[in-house]
């Protein structure tokens, strides 16, 4: 069952003279939950940005479902089936919770502008379907009670959840979570772990997540990649990573390794 979904082939990116990420080889099999960790500034988010088309890698190639997605615009990558959340929450703040999800659902609907302007039957049918699907997503995340609130008025933890709900509404096969537990307390983190497990099961997702919370990463990831200074320094199961001297060195400094 281990068919390849995503493959990063020796990718790298240069900003002027700075090599932010180089020689990164990664793969994700369908249905896996993989963690990407590393100290601050290691290039984790940059890697995400290359995956989602925000940056175009200057070296190497990215293939998703056997097709190269290098050079595609972010919205095209999303249409291919990769969606993401952001490290610093990027909700549509002055829009209701329901509309936030509907916006992500946008590209899965197909009624045209003309049908919307003239209020043709296709418009009502399409909108009703979007409404139903969006509410279903909100229910999974326990957000349906807030559906008419503005996103900016939600408590922080709920905003994080809404980010994930919105990413899911874009209909991904591969979900990229950028520090989903940042700023959460242990209880919220535990709830989030359960939630990730649940949606993974329910939507048949493959998940790649960046996280600093080691409990979360070690608790739910099947494999972990470790980045440091833009290069992969380790790969393996949580157990292997925990005991890898290079990883301990990257996180804690050299003296500790005796």
């Amino acid at each position: 069952m281990s068919d390849l979904l995503l493959k990063l082939d020796n990718i790298g990116i240069q900003f002027g003279g700075l090599k932010a990420v180089q020689n990164v080889d990664m793969y994700l099999n369908r249905g896996e939950l993989v963690g990407l960790i590393g100290p601050n500034g290691a290039g984790k988010t940059t890697t995400f940005n290359m995956l989602t088309g925000v940056y175009v890698p200057t070296e190497g190639d990215i293939t998703f479902k056997g097709q190269s997605i290098k050079g595609l615009k972010p919205y095209q990558v999303t249409k291919k089936g990769i969606s993401r959340t952001f490290q610093n929450i990027r909700l549509f703040k002055d829009v209701t919770v329901l509309d936030n999800v509907k916006i992500a659902n946008h590209h899965l609907a197909n009624h045209s502008i003309i049908s919307s302007i003239f209020r043709l039957p296709a418009h009502f049918k399409g909108e009703a379907k979007m409404e139903k699907e969006s509410i279903d997503f909100l229910k999974i995340f326990g957000l349906d009670v807030y559906k008419n609130e503005l996103a900016k008025n939600l408590p922080y933890g709920m905003q994080r959840r809404l980010e994930i709900a919105r990413a899911l509404a874009a209909g991904p096969e591969l979900l990229l979570l950028d520090e989903p537990a940042a700023g959460m307390n242990p209880q919220e983190t535990q709830d989030l772990m359960d939630l990730i497990a649940l949606i993974r099961e329910k939507f048949n997702l493959t998940i790649l997540l960046i996280e600093h919370d080691m409990n979360l990463v070690m608790g739910i990831c099947e494999r972990i990649y470790v980045l440091d200074h833009g290069q992969l320094i380790a790969e393996g199961t949580p157990e292997e990573i925990r005991n890898n001297p290079k990883v301990i060195e990257a996180y804690l400094g050299e003296e500790v390794v005796q």
């Binding site: 972010p74 952001f86 302007i117």
Partner: protein, 312 residues
Amino acid sequence: MKKSKAFWGYLVIALVIYAVVQGMLVTGMLDLYYQNMLITICINIMLAVSLHIVIGITGQFSIGHAGFMAVGAYISAICTMKLGLPFIVGIILAGIVAAFAGVLVGVPSLRLKGDYLAIATLGFAEIIRILFLNIDYVGGAAGMVVNHATTWTYAFFGVIITILVISNFTNSRHGRGCIAIREDEIAADAMGINTTYFKVVAFVIGSLFAGVAGALYAHNFYIIQPTAFNFLKSFEILIYVVLGGLGSLSGSVIAAIFLTAISQYLQAFPETRMIIYSVVLILVMLYRPTGLMGTKELKDLFKARKKGGSEV
């Protein structure tokens, strides 16, 4: 079902307003001065609402709206005066050509953001104005004489169609795509929204109705001159949108009515007119920095009141 009920309700209200005013015009209760004022208000509402979709909904700060109005005005004038086509054909062609101009201006300039976009659109509007200034066929700087053809009926139904199309667009998946761009362009892109496409679509719809408004304007004042479409006109439209509240369609409408009425009323005091007008603007901005309506619509206010009432 509920939605369509509200829609028919609005339509009935609109028709009643139309019928009452039309009746008053026919019976002579409202004289030419007021007729002219009503038509001016209608034209300004159309301009405000058509800019609202670009700035308020899509968040693209375009300040060259008078340019598209000029295109509409001149195209319709050419149709009726030079080619002898009926007025309605002139209006439709004005809209189409202005929309086409919107594509030409929008595609290159909407790659820019914020202040840079503002300057680029301002530049394009000036180019359009200078073009008309130098084309002898349309009278150059002296302007072009146009027959009076705009009536209350044209103006009123122009407003109704503009509001209907733009509010229908806004309350659909396409409009939500535009709102997403306004809120966070990077996130919108990541959620599968083709940001360039939607910016251009909003811009083109805005230009189309600015063109129609331009056509009505041209046939209301007997003469059109390029100076009528300079950047001051663009700013006037911008003020309606900002004062009404960015993102609020009813706000744009109310601001357009309010400011046009004030400006017409103040014509009796030519020396202090612009001072009073400016003071009104400053006061509104000081006390309502988000504009008259914020991002709310008129119906939201009624809803809030109803809710408050039932709680008491």
